[in-house]
Symmetry: C2
Subunit: 250 residues, 2 copies
DNA sequence: TGTCGTCTGTACTTCATCGAACATAGCCGA
DNA sequence: TCGGCTATGTTCGATGAAGTACAGACGACA
């Protein structure tokens, strides 16, 4: 499948993205004309390392991922971004680029917005800035938790966590991810991951075949997962609820 | 040593902190009356997990550290904050708290500011917001790199990286950190770390005794360290230089 | 000066993961 | 329908680190 862009060339509501959905109509209408529907395959690159960001992406289904790269070219997933968020936080932070890449991890549907339009909108008072502030914090918490997770939790726990995090962000299953790619994302050897996946399959928690994965038993996976997913979900929920407060915070 | 607070009770210039030093005089003068000099021992807690942040800290020497905690109470260091930055980014992000703790990792000197004063100042136009935006990005990049580092780099490489990162942030050596504490921070067993430290000592890269460490050969440690420190330093330098640009970014 | 507590050195067993090699199976295009 | 490619399954020795236990060494304090 090739990347598709253009004005809603397929059935998709931009406000299926949480951030866009939470914007007041006046703000949404201001940026709406510049939104462009996209459908992107894995592993499309949304931002290059140390390259200026041209578009920010608001997924409605699928997962984008911020990946770190080291001197040897090894890559590891550092944070998932799905319909709860936006890629390109460096634009929000005013720096316009970062040393990480952002790629498509699970085939993605959503809209994109030119970085310049976002910058202009940030200058206006409204709901957008506090929304993005909260999203920034969620990403930071996700990363902080993943640092711990990658250090002290077992491979199968991390794999279960990853599957659950994706499950939260896809509209329909199965979703397209190969074990090879997944292994690279969680930073392990494919054979080791293959064993874990096999266990999950035998236990009836997931089904998969040739790069198509379905979650069959969320609760079962939760039991085998580490608690990181709970920590992250709790913080995301808390921050969503604070936004119902009457006045946006500083 | 006990925590000391009060108006400059010892010799220390708040503007030795990079952020405070980069503020225009008018902005600095506005918050200066609320600044309070502090000297804190390890492992003093600056922010509790899921507790409202009362003060933000601007170190001038020493290191504060954001640590993640899991369900079993295990803790791992996720980002260092020294004289280049400020603790309490959640205040800047408007959320006021986070699920991570922030503690003193290497005995710390600096100033603190009530969160409320910072919030008020953020409402004014000036240099502070762009400075903190950049700092937020540096912290995020640090975390992202650490996710990769914790996953694929060896213990001795990570230990070397840690030593170098501390070396950049302390005014005088030796600095006070026990191997036991360090092992917990980089998330390994103390005996394993002890071996690495012993190698560094035998190679003449460091000297230490009973919780007092000195770096003897920065270049030697750099060779044994992973490249993560370079990635982080490069991004920090880049962002510092963009601040010399005439107009602050959005 | 002796004792206690903290910090550090070292040894050893067990385990998770690495890293590489090879086997199998489904899909696709020529 | 026959390769050829990609995705997955499986094995095995090597290795880094976990986990535990205990010994030595230095400082603080009585």
């Amino acid at each position: 499948m090739r990347a598709t862009t253009g004005k809603t060339p397929f059935d998709m509501d931009p406000r299926g993205n949480y951030l866009l959905g939470a914007l007041p109509a006046t703000e949404f209408d201001r940026i709406a004309p510049a939104l462009e529907a996209v459908r992107l395959p894995r592993p499309a690159e949304l931002e290059g390392a140390n390259e200026p960001i041209e578009y920010v992406y608001f997924p409605t289904s699928g997962v984008a991922s911020i990946v770190s790269i080291d001197e040897d070219g090894e890559t590891v997933d550092t944070a998932m971004i799905g319909r709860e968020g936006m890629t390109g936080l460096s634009v929000f932070l005013g720096t316009g680029q970062s040393p990480m890449r952002t790629i498509v991890q699970v085939p993605l549907t959503g809209v994109r917005l030119p970085a310049k339009v976002l910058r202009d909108e940030l200058g206006r008072d409204g709901r957008l800035v506090p929304l993005l502030q909260r999203h920034t914090q969620v990403v930071m918490v996700t990363m902080a938790q993943l640092i711990l997770c990658n250090r002290i939790h077992r491979l199968d726990q991390r794999a279960a966590r990853w599957l659950l995090q994706v499950d939260e962000r896809v509209e329909e299953e199965p979703f397209g991810v190969t074990q090879d790619f997944l292994a690279q994302m969680i930073g392990v050897q494919r054979p080791a991951l293959s064993l874990a996946m096999r266990q999950f399959k035998d236990a009836g928690l997931v089904t998969y075949s040739r790069g198509q994965i379905s979650i069959a038993d969320r609760d079962g996976l939760l039991e085998r997962s580490c608690g990181c997913i709970t920590v992250i979900a709790a913080e995301a929920d808390r921050l969503r609820s604070t936004l119902d407060a009457p006045r946006p915070l500083a």
